[in-house]
């Protein structure tokens, strides 16, 4: 038992010491940071709130705008992703889908032709219309002949496998897309991009969770005349609160901290906090004191949430516990 405490304590130190260092660095003057390590406030150095004042008073607007952006984008995209993702996950658990392979092939072919047309210089409106028509044509002719169909497991695998996609592989076309729509550097662009990149996680985690909801409850609700939507809203979702909370927290953390997509899609107005933190690396070298303040105000809400919801996390994660 003593050994356990020593080991656990050691890792706790490894985790907490960097955070402690953030706090003390935020209380130092630049001179003190640069002239060597000082560990204890009041004994080794005189703490000052100068950096905090600079971030909150001098930079007021430049701190609060990214903060607001991060909060709005994080919460909105997480809520929407959770909604769409759990609907899809529920559908995949409780309904039967059959998509003909031919239909999928037709769609990919039409899409490829449309993309090629746009790249070759055709106006995109024309390409979209042409693509849709080609798709419908193929659907009526070629697709009907195919026997093989994709079932729920295939769709789930397809959705989850989207997580394998490195963001850097898709971010350039997304950049051009939002540029065409004039949405660069706005909230909707980031929200939509985050939704697409986080949907697979939600589908993955929630599918596991919904499988653990007893079928009998849903059936009895259906016998009582509740529609599928009502069963989902009034029976399944309330029973899945731990899973929803855990998933919400995970996705929020990912969206809150995301760097690469924000780097491409935003410049000044919709800039999020990770970019603000990275921007503290000025020409005179990194300004540790400001950076520490920014990192601290950035992690405080997430950490508070994690502490408040901690008991849900372990209960809400059934990853692979029910069925891989």
């Amino acid at each position: 038992m003593a050994v356990s405490y020593v080991l656990l304590g050691a890792w706790a130190v490894v985790v907490l010491f960097p955070l402690y260092w953030l706090v003390v660095t935020s209380l130092k003057t630049p001179l003190e940071v640069n002239s060597g390590p000082f560990y204890l406030p009041f004994r080794d150095f005189k703490p000052t709130l100068e950096s905090w004042r600079y971030i909150f008073v001098d930079l007021r607007e430049d701190t609060f705008r990214p903060y607001l952006n991060t909060v709005v984008v994080g919460l909105t995209s997480t809520a929407l992703t959770l909604l769409l993702g759990s609907m899809a996950a529920y559908g995949l658990v409780r309904m039967r889908y059959r998509v003909r392979l031919g239909a999928v092939a037709s769609f990919v072919a039409a899409l490829a032709v449309a993309v090629a047309a746009v790249v070759a210089g055709a106006p995109w409106q024309l390409a979209v219309i042409g693509g849709v028509m080609l798709f419908l044509l193929l659907l009526q002719t070629v697709a009907r002949r195919s026997r093989r169909a994709l079932g729920n497991d295939d769709i789930a695998f397809w959705m989850i496998s989207q997580r394998m996609l490195p963001p850097v592989a898709v971010v350039i076309p997304i950049f051009i897309f939002f540029q065409q729509l004039g949405l660069l550097d706005t909230w909707p662009a980031l929200i939509i991009a985050y939704m697409a990149s986080h949907l697979p996680i939600v589908v993955w985690l929630m599918r596991d969770y919904f499988q653990s909801v007893p079928l009998e409850l849903e059936e009895s609700a259906a016998i009582d005349g509740a529609s599928r939507y009502r069963v989902f809203r009034s029976v399944v979702l309330p029973l899945s609160v731990p899973g929803l909370v855990a998933t919400f927290l995970f996705v929020l953390v990912f969206a809150w901290n995301e760097y690469l997509i924000a780097l491409f899609l935003t410049s000044a107005n919709a800039q999020t906090l990770p970019l603000t933190v990275a921007a503290q690396n000025a020409t005179r070298g990194p300004q540790w004191w400001y950076m520490s303040v920014l990192i601290l105000i950035m992690i405080v809400p997430v950490i508070a949430m994690a502490i408040a919801l901690e008991r849900y996390i372990a209960r809400g994660l059934l990853v692979g516990a029910v069925k891989g």
Binding site: P173, Y259, L260, P286
Partner: protein, 387 residues
């Protein structure tokens, strides 16, 4: 849990009131459409913002993009961008510099290839073999063999690993260290010790910090003259050594940062898995006189294997995307020693070689897909079938 007033709608079906009857056809139709309604929004979002950009990216990777007056111009160049990476001017950056094989690397290669051949032969002789399975395994052995050769020949010789090799090292080392650490911590935490809730919350914290922040944090900590570990460096006579100018030191710093940040993720999943195990299993094992070591290997570990396989898969996939840490912590340096594939793509993008950047992104996608599919087929499916 909220109580659901089922009875009301139940009565409505048996004794329909006029208004409800009017609405029935519409709601019935909506109900029949429930399947598509549930899944289509997600499918559309993924199609529009994953699949469509992916195809567009494929085309970009096959062309040279140049900025001209009033817009961009794409010129189709075939596989040029890929050729540049594998055999052309970017080869040293992407694959690395290979040198003549040394005895050590030859020995390792021989051992690995012998292992592959042994596994293939064993599969070919096993009862459940199929032609497809054998073909797939041969392909895996071939590509894996080439990968091992590349890794061994750039690291164990006087050569220099490229971004592909560095990324593979990051993923391999990070995920295995994270898993071992997380498993140990999870086993310690699930014991009924007083104060374990404190540890659980604390161990979760690093995951909540933005990777950019973690990178700066570790840059502060690894500073050998002003960082908090300064007395330690002087004690070992390392005060003049800068981590960040030594290729392996810099890579180690990146890997330590990544381990610090993502061990919590595996930890929390393993804690969830361990806590869901039925107590009777352990009691039965104890009655049978098993010691702790046996209980772990015979009972605990097999039980958490499905969760293990899932969480390792998630981390494998995510670890390949590493970019913030090397970008901020070491700026990819010294030279390109710590650059990951995503960072490589980003630096090339900044140099306005958009086609080349897309080609690297696609290379990364190939690697991740190959490893993901191999992992699922050879390991995960078996584990899940067992459970």
């Amino acid at each position: 849990m909220r109580k659901v007033p089922f009875t009301m709608s139940g009565e409505a079906t048996t004794r329909p009131v006029p208004l409800a009857a009017q609405w029935r056809p519409l709601t019935d139709r909506l109900d029949r459409l429930a399947g598509p309604v549930f899944i289509l929004p997600a499918v559309l979002v993924i199609l529009a913002f994953s699949i469509f950009p992916l195809l567009a990216s494929l085309y970009v990777s096959l062309s040279r993009l140049s900025f001209s007056e009033g817009g961009v111009q794409l010129r189709f160049v075939g596989l040029d961008n890929y050729a540049k990476l594998v055999v052309g001017i970017d080869r040293a950056h992407f694959l690395g510099v290979t040198r003549a094989i040394t005895p050590v690397s030859a020995a390792i290669l021989a051992a690995v290839y012998a292992g592959f051949v042994y596994l293939l032969v064993r599969y070919a002789r096993s009862r459940g073999r199929t032609a497809l399975g054998l073909a797939g395994r041969s392909l895996v052995a071939l590509i894996g063999g080439a990968g091992v050769w590349l890794v061994v020949d750039t690291i164990l010789t006087s050569g220099r690993p490229g971004t592909l090799v560095v990324t593979i090292i990051y993923v391999g080392v990070d995920v295995s260290v994270q898993y071992l650490l997380a498993l140990g911590l999870a086993l310690l935490v699930v014991q009924r010790l007083p104060g374990r809730r404190f540890f659980r919350v604390v161990f979760l914290l690093p995951m909540m910090i933005t990777p950019v922040g973690v990178a700066y944090l570790f840059r502060m900590l690894t500073d050998t003259s002003k960082g908090p570990l300064y007395p330690l460096w002087t004690h070992f006579g390392l005060a003049d050594v800068s981590w960040v100018t030594n290729p392996w030191g810099a890579r180690l710093a990146v890997m330590i940062g990544d381990v610090w940040q993502w061990t919590p993720f595996i930890f929390i999943v393993l804690v969830a898995a361990l806590e869901s195990l039925p107590v009777e299993l352990f009691e039965a094992a104890k009655v049978d006189g098993a010691n702790r070591w046996q209980v772990f290997w015979e009972v605990t570990f097999p039980q958490i294997l499905p969760a293990t396989s899932t969480v390792v898969l998630i981390r494998l996939i995510e670890a390949f995307k590493i970019v913030d840490l090397p970008n901020v912590l070491t700026n990819g340096g010294p030279g390109t020693a710590t650059e990951s594939l995503t960072l490589h793509a980003y630096t090339i993008w900044r140099a306005l070689d958009i086609g080349g950047s897309a080609a690297i992104a696609y290379m990364l996608l190939f690697v991740v897909t190959f490893i993901g599919i191999t992992y699922v087929n050879l390991f995960r499916r078996r584990v899940v079938a067992m459970a």
